[in-house]
């Protein structure tokens, strides 16, 4: 069966420090991969999506970047965190070709202090 792993679950980082969040998917090949952010009291904002290794599309210009070094690995990074980067980060995958639901990870609560 397919599973998605996202870590860490919580993270407290100082302003200006780097960030690396990792997401891996098991039990499927060639998934579409997504990073979302949910700020307090707000909806989910799509940050990045990827349809293949090395293929990253950005939805919102910001302080973050994403990479997909392997088929089932999706990494969210920042060189220097801002206070506004605080939020709940969710990774998700869907079947290539679409038409099906998304499976979300359990999320990372990032607090930038």
């Amino acid at each position: 069966s397919q599973t998605i792993h996202q870590w860490p679950a919580t993270l407290v980082q100082p302003v200006g420090s780097p960030l690396s969040l990792e997401c891996t998917v098991e039990g499927t090949s060639n998934p579409n991969l997504y990073w979302y952010r949910q700020a307090a009291g707000r909806g989910l904002q799509l940050l990045f999506y990827s349809v293949g290794i090395g293929q990253i599309s950005s939805e919102v210009p910001q302080n973050l970047s994403a990479s997909r070094p392997q088929d089932r690995q999706f990494i969210l990074s920042s060189k220097k965190l801002l206070l506004s980067d605080s939020g709940f980060y969710l990774c998700a995958w869907s079947v290539r070709g679409g038409g099906s639901g998304y499976t979300f990870g359990s999320g990372t609560r990032l607090t930038v202090v």
């Binding site: 999506y49 969710l90 679409g98 979300f104 359990s106 999320g107």
Partner: protein, 113 residues
């Protein structure tokens, strides 16, 4: 993909009652999906209804779709305390949705014991 707008923003009912929440969207769709998010957790895919379907059931969930009105509704029958969560709709336009689902602010449902 386009964003759905959930209504109401908040709903509080007694345990055992039925809960109905609505979703509106703007342009034609391939399918529409509903998700649940418990506090501090990732989203869980509940049900997907295709554009050529008018109603779909899954356990205590009933989803309807009216493409002429560009609207959908989610009915939860015989609500339980565990149904307390935020509910999101996600219309998926044609093209498979590889470019990411877009979520609104959701309906925050509270089931009073």
């Amino acid at each position: 993909s386009q964003q759905g707008e959930e209504d109401p923003q908040a709903l509080s009912i007694q345990e055992g009652e039925n809960a109905t929440m609505n979703c509106s969207y703007k342009t034609s769709i391939n399918n529409l999906q509903w998700y649940r998010q418990n506090s501090g957790r990732g989203l869980v895919h509940l049900i997907l209804i295709r554009s050529n379907e008018r109603e779909k059931h899954s356990g205590r969930l009933r989803v309807t779709l009216d493409t002429s009105k560009k609207s959908s509704s989610l009915l939860i029958t015989a609500s339980r305390a565990a149904d307390t969560a935020s509910y999101f709709c996600a219309p998926m336009s044609s093209g498979g949705g590889a470019d990411g689902l877009t979520f609104g602010k959701g309906t925050h449902l509270i089931i009073q014991p």
